[in-house]
Symmetry: C2
Subunit: 258 residues, 2 copies
């Protein structure tokens, strides 16, 4: 649907969509912006951007010193509404902690959103001394272990729609090179019930993922453990990590509220 | 400002505010709602709630099976915009991990938002086997160590405004009983440069906090370590935890981008 069609539809609240765009415009690289900058970033007129910014300020989602605008912590309530609406969250965290205790590697949980995976939980290992932003982070699905696990769990029509839209970009020399290789890899994931991705996202990074399913065997999320190639061989991942991961994914699946 | 005044103001985009209310209506207790339920929860007409919900669905912030509506992970992008706009985030995490490694207790970072503190980062210790939702969680400022630290850092006019609005509720038998006691406690925090709160939020819970400041000595955030009364005496908190905490808060302050 194009913007023009959308704005003609009486059920479409354009002000909401544009206001959300204003929120999303703020980032690590642009934490504070003037009215002019927000207008430029969003393609709005200054007058329109001003109305949205002042509304966000009045509702305490943003603040201003008269010149610069910045977001306020109330914005977290919006993402918090999503996270706290996931029944998987509370169930998964203690089980993920068990995985980290057993393997001394970070354990993450992600869901699929369009072409990306989005992290919804992460338990870091103490080994990792720097952590980037985790919850809410996005990665392309095709070259991550959780992504392939989630794609393998899609109904055929949705997977076909994904294949139509995805564009493969080789992130490392090991990234799947084309659609044939990707389809093969996803077929393998489905058949095996787990996915090992070796340095396709980033050189040095290895990870293994398994699906979390509901009682109807629909894949709700993917659980993974990631490690470094210099620390853990493929063999160790398969013999030591995989059983722990499969057990944890199954425990989370079984513990989900019905 | 009342709703009526607000809606009459031409700079106020009511559709944005109501749309954000719709997002916030979803929660752990109401992860999936019908149109009727959303209308009831938000006090909107069904027709209005429907327009907002369909807009959120079309923009992929929500999904529906025709009857129930639920949020989608794209909502996390909104909170992510805020978190990633905080320069403190990346600087603080590795230092917080050092604190956890040294003390084997969880370390958190929070900012003030109105009457509440809001968690913006948390590094759990392995000891804690169940973790609730952390980032985005809110607690009343008056009875938490990070809250009192942040209040002690407010300019006098803002602190006076806080005192006008706050309502003290005794969460435990140890919670400050009245405004005189609260003002005393905050004065002590300011004088000491740290805050110890002993079971005022919840029986058994002890925590100690210190301010993170920018170069102009403005308090940007509070850093804390929390423990259990059965595990750690007040004496141990003061002699062993406090130096580690103060050192970490100072390192974060010093490392902040200018």
């Amino acid at each position: 649907m194009t913007k023009v069609q959308a704005s003609e539809d009486k059920d479409y609240v354009q002000s909401l969509v544009r206001g959300l765009e204003v929120i999303r415009t703020f980032s690590r690289y642009k934490p504070r912006m003037t009215l002019t900058e927000v207008a430029e970033q969003t393609g709005m007129t200054r007058a329109t951007a001003r109305r949205f910014l002042l509304t966000l300020v009045r509702e305490e989602y943003a603040e201003t010193d008269g010149k610069y605008f910045a977001l306020r912590p109330k914005v977290l309530d919006l993402g918090f509404a999503y996270l706290s609406s996931l029944p998987i969250w509370e169930v998964a965290q203690p089980i993920m902690r068990d995985v980290v205790n057993a393997l001394h590697e970070s354990c993450s949980l992600a869901v699929l959103d369009g072409l990306d995976i989005v992290y919804v939980a992460r338990v870091p290992t103490e080994r990792v001394m720097t952590i980037g932003l985790s919850i809410g982070s996005r990665l392309p699905a095709y070259c991550s272990s959780m992504g392939r696990t989630l794609l393998a769990g899609l109904p055929p029509a949705e997977l076909a729609a994904y294949y139509d839209r995805v564009k493969i970009e080789r992130r490392t020399e090991r990234t799947v090179a084309n659609m044939v290789a990707l389809k093969d890899a996803i077929e393998t994931s489905r058949r095996q019930g787990w996915t090992l991705v070796d340095q396709e996202l980033e050189m040095g990074l290895r990870s293994i993922a398994a699906p979390v399913k509901n009682r109807r065997s629909e894949v709700l999320a993917a659980l993974n453990v990631s490690t470094h190639e210099g620390r853990t061989s493929i063999e160790t991942i398969k013999t030591r990590f995989l059983p722990v991961l499969l057990d944890a994914a199954q425990r989370i699946s079984a513990a989900l509220p019905q």
